[in-house]
Amino acid sequence: MISEPTAPAVLLDDVTVSFDGRIALDRVTFQVPAGGFVAMIGPNGAGKTTCLRVVLGLLNPQSGVVRVFGRPPGHLHGDVGYVPQRIVIPRGFPISALDVVLMGRTALLGPGRRPRAVDREAARAALRRVGLDGSAARRFEELSGGQQQRVLIARALCGRPRLLLLDEPTAGLDSGARARFYALVCDLQHAEGLTLLCATHDLDVVGDHADTLVLLDHAVRAMGTPSEVLASGALESAYPLPDGHVHSAAERETR
């Protein structure tokens, strides 16, 4: 758990990953400072999820250096929480929101040990933090998409992480739910001192909350504050549109 005081929470240095000769990440370099919020944006298949899998230690890069709190990934499970796009539970399976959140305690407890009162209280506290304290006993499948995402955040928080990795966590949510989701994540970042690394397509919302945007299209195409990246012109090359279409109202006016 001891890390160098100056070490970034996440460091990717010249990281290359390929699958069957196809380059997924091409010499990617960026870092996430402790307590910071970095959002990776980019088109589908740009390597955002691959990047998260590298940070989680689920994929080994062909070259480059990856460090999480100054150590190789895959050795700091308690410090890293993961929020997926969604989880799919068989219809009618009676798993409650509290059951899902308690899964966040699994690694802390170890095999053969059932969750105790203190674990249940930690799970309830995590649900309170995401505003779902009244929904602990409700079936997970009965919750709205936004509520399900908050349960998954609570599950990640329940493991007491310092770093939260979010993989397109608002896919399928309406714009209001997406805005509320990022507001909640930001509140948690400041209240809990969390570091956030998020893969997202929410160009319109995430810029209001993230400290840094990384525009990824296999390689890093742009990086900086949201306003710098969104104004850089790199978006147009990463998200090419058919001839005749324009990206923004401002651009339409200049035409």
């Binding site: 993961y82 989880i87 399976f93 009676p94 798993i95 409650s96 899902v100 899964m103 009244g134």
Partner: protein
């Protein structure tokens, strides 16, 4: 009833049937959670190839079936971790191949055909006394492992990626579940046979899911439904001279349909809650 319980072969059938029923019920919880019903069908049919191999090679058929079925389970697990072929496609290949292998090998041993029906449809009443301890040992070991790793298997079953991220050995847990499934299927061939065992790996959990409101309640109902099906099925088999495996599965399926009709009127494992959370 005292006549029924007075025979040693009935007592053996009740003991092994109950243990197999409990083990299948707990396994069925994970089979339904992980949508592995087709895996159960595939492995149970692979067991026929193993039985036939045992006959041809001159080793105990159930031992050969256990080794062969575990091998097939591991190959399915290995294929699942690769990209070339999907899991259900792999099962779709192994299912008829193992079945065909079994049919060809058994056709080469004409003297053995008379026992084939016992493997296809099961006959728990024919369990010999020397088979009781091994079956009990397998069931108790399986239940012990399922209990020890219950919350880990639950996490991996719900969200394998997040479980891996949390440091759980998701791959090893998946292979453990497949191995337990394969071994239990072979042990349960004596109970309900190759054709019907896959039903016993789905129906108990499905009944639990139809009635219960919590994971604990679902497990309790699944176990009660499996044990009740074994006891009632055996009694019906004894009373009306019915094939025991088919009688057990029919009782189990009847329980499921009753549960489905009763819906969730029975508050097993908690009552429904109104939402108080913000959307």
């Amino acid at each position: 009833m005292s006549d029924f319980l007075g025979y040693a072969f009935v007592q053996r059938a009740l003991v092994t049937g109950t243990l197999l029923g409990v083990t299948c019920a707990v396994l069925s919880f994970f089979v339904v959670l992980r949508r592995m019903a087709f895996v159960g069908v595939g492995l149970s049919h692979a067991a026929l190839g193993g039985v036939a191999l045992g006959v041809v090679l001159g080793v105990p058929p159930l031992l050969a079936a256990a080794v062969f079925t575990v091998f097939v389970a591991w190959v399915i697990g290995w294929i699942r971790g690769r990209r070339e072929v999907s899991e259900d496609t792999a099962i779709g290949v192994f299912f008829p191949t193992s079945m065909a292998l079994g049919v060809v090998l058994i056709s080469l041993s004409p003297a053995y055909r008379q026992d084939l029906m016992a493997y296809l449809f099961g006959n728990i009443l024919s369990v010999r006394s020397e088979e009781v301890l091994p079956i009990a040992g397998l069931c108790l070991t399986g239940l012990g492992l399922l209990g020890w790793y219950f919350k880990e298997l639950l996490f991996v079953g719900v969200d394998e990626e997040a479980a891996l991220a949390a440091g759980l050995p998701a791959g090893r847990l998946r292979f453990m579940l497949l191995t337990l499934l394969a071994v239990t299927i072979v042990a349960a061939l004596r109970l309900v046979g190759i054709v019907l065992v896959s039903a016993f790996l789905v129906i108990p959990a499905a009944t639990g899911q139809a009635l219960a409101r919590s994971l604990g309640g679902m497990l309790v109902v699944a176990v009660a439904s499996a044990v009740g099906s074994v006891l009632i099925g055996l009694w019906l088999s004894w009373s009306w001279d019915l094939p025991s495996g088919a009688a057990i599965v029919l009782v189990s399926a009847s329980g499921f349909f009753v549960a489905l009709t009763a819906g969730r009127r029975l508050p097993i494992g908690g009552r429904p809650q109104k939402s108080t959370g913000r959307r």
